[in-house]
Amino acid sequence: MSSSTKTEAGPWLELRQISRQFGGLQALSEVSFQVEEGEIFGLIGPNGAGKTTLFNLLSGVTPASSGTIHWRGQAMQGLSPDRHNRLGIARTFQNLRLFTGLSVLDNVLVALHRQPQGSGLDALLNSSRFQRRQSELRQRAMQLLEELGLADQAHRQASGLAYGDRRRLEIARALATAPALLLLDEPAAGMNPREKEQLCELLAVLRQRHQLTLVVIEHHVPLLIQLCQRLAVLDFGRLIALGTPEQIQRDPRVIEAYLGGSR
């Protein structure tokens, strides 16, 4: 595991002058900010502000048109999504992307690649070492499901889960890759107020237990204000405000962007 190798100087996660065009559309322009280790960092902004685009850049799905992203001292440009994940960045999706053809347990097992696997020969011979590894992996997966309150549904098809459970399964699956940075894209979407409250508590617990840094996109601003140490506000691809929840709530530019002044 790579958690012992984070002794680099400089910011933990740093975006410098990040821009991204899609044809004529400027999805992000010259966005710069830093995220500190261990913090819960919120991203807000109206629809189309570039929040999900930013997540796509941070997880390696799309490259930036210009600018740099440094993560624990390493330049991340040109690295594939699976390299990003192996370096400790995991994410969930706004529109859920579970493997609906697999069971709940298998969704997590598939993502447990950080664990040593044992050789193909072991698998072929079904050796006792291989069987022990298999049962360890299952235990690890069950433990994650337990943490997210899904253990009793482990053997259902993922497609059969209730909506809130699917959101939690995405988190369990992301945690299975043993990330240091977890990007959550609208984790509370479609949840009722009670579920949102529980999610808030759950995220705080998970951050402690898994030593996570969280970057959270959320439309439900009260949730972010309760959860985050710092917030960044995007509007039309620009970073218009950055600060503590109190500072953000008082920022006139934010109020304008949200209440839609003179566009």
């Binding site: 699976d82 192996r86 992307r97 493997f99 697999l102 298998d106 097992l109 598939v110 992996l137 699956r173």
Partner: protein, 312 residues
């Protein structure tokens, strides 16, 4: 006089080989959404490799007439190595005909043409090296010599090789299904098949999964070619192409991308062909495609293809 049992067993045996070919298509189709038209050529290659590994000699029209291995390997080892050889060439086909297009984000349909081209090149190389003539496998090839020519089963005489063929393809199909279902790399392959982007975001190396699919797919084709060579003969370098086409029909019959569909489709096709009386054997292919036609009219997504099409 052929009994019903004999007929059914023959049908199941060729159905097993069809299922192998169709599964080869299925693996690649599920991870890339494309058909590898070199599959039939890899089938031919497997047949020729098996022939050579069993100690067969190159004929007079080949590049090296009379050349052959000094010893013949036992049949199971020859089949295994020939399958691995076809798998390796399958990987090469992926490198040459698929990877460059994928890297440029080209339209996936274009790889139909490039893979067809790769298949034509492969078959012509076989023809150059081995000549266009057909080959009968060495009599009593090592390991097979100890086995009786035929077995008495429920009052019917059945060729040993047919039983062997059925057993080997059943074993291959069963271990592939088990692997897909239980192993982590099998689950990774199903994950990539369902959603490649999400799979890579979870740290799964989807390129490695694609290569694995081509390796396994080539191995299945090569094994099929070796088995047919052993039980029938090699009818020239193009013999695999017709099996490739039959496998394609089975793929559609069973349902694109469905593993159980490929197996069931293969058996249906094999049994239907076997039930045609030998006097009317010229109608075999016509029947196969008539079945395909009928199934597609009644069930456009194939016998077991329902879920896949709903997903799209």
């Amino acid at each position: 006089m052929e009994t019903l049992l004999q007929t059914l067993l023959n049908g199941a045996a060729s159905g097993g080989v069809y299922a192998l070919v169709a599964l080869g298509y299925t693996l690649i189709f599920s991870v890339l959404g494309v058909i590898n038209f070199a599959q039939g050529a890899l089938f031919s290659l497997g047949g020729y490799l098996t022939y050579l590994l069993l100690g067969g000699k190159i004929g007079v029209n080949g590049a090296l007439p009379g050349w052959g291995l000094p010893i013949g390997l036992p049949f199971w080892l020859a089949l295994l190595l020939a399958a691995l050889g076809s798998g390796a060439i399958g990987l090469l086909v992926e490198r040459i005909a698929f990877a460059p297009l994928r890297r440029r984000g080209a339209e996936p349909l274009l790889s139909l043409i490039t893979s067809l081209g790769a298949g034509v090149v492969l078959v012509n190389l076989l023809q150059l090296l081995m000549g266009a003539e057909g080959y009968a496998f060495p009599q009593g090839a090592a390991g097979l010599a100890h086995l009786p020519e035929s077995l008495l089963l429920g009052g019917a005489r059945i060729r040993t090789i047919q039983v062997l063929l059925l057993a080997i393809s059943a074993l291959a199909v069963a271990s592939l299904s088990l692997w897909l279902d239980k192993s982590r790399s099998g689950k990774a392959m199903r994950a990539v098949a369902e959603d490649p982007t999400t799979a890579t975001l979870l740290g799964i190396n989807s390129e490695a999964v694609v290569r694995l699919a081509f390796l396994l797919s080539g191995m299945l084709a090569g094994l099929g070619g070796g088995l047919i060579g052993m039980s029938v003969s090699l009818a020239g370098p193009y013999f695999g192409i017709s099996y490739g086409l039959k496998g394609l029909a089975v793929l559609v019959l069973g349902g694109l991308g469905s593993v159980p569909g490929a197996i069931v489709g293969g058996l249906v096709m094999g049994l239907a062909e076997a039930l045609i009386p030998s006097q009317a054997s010229g109608w075999r292919d016509a029947l196969a495609f008539a079945i395909l036609f009928a199934v597609l009219v009644l069930r456009p997504s194939g016998l077991l293809g329902r879920r896949q099409l709903e997903k799209v």
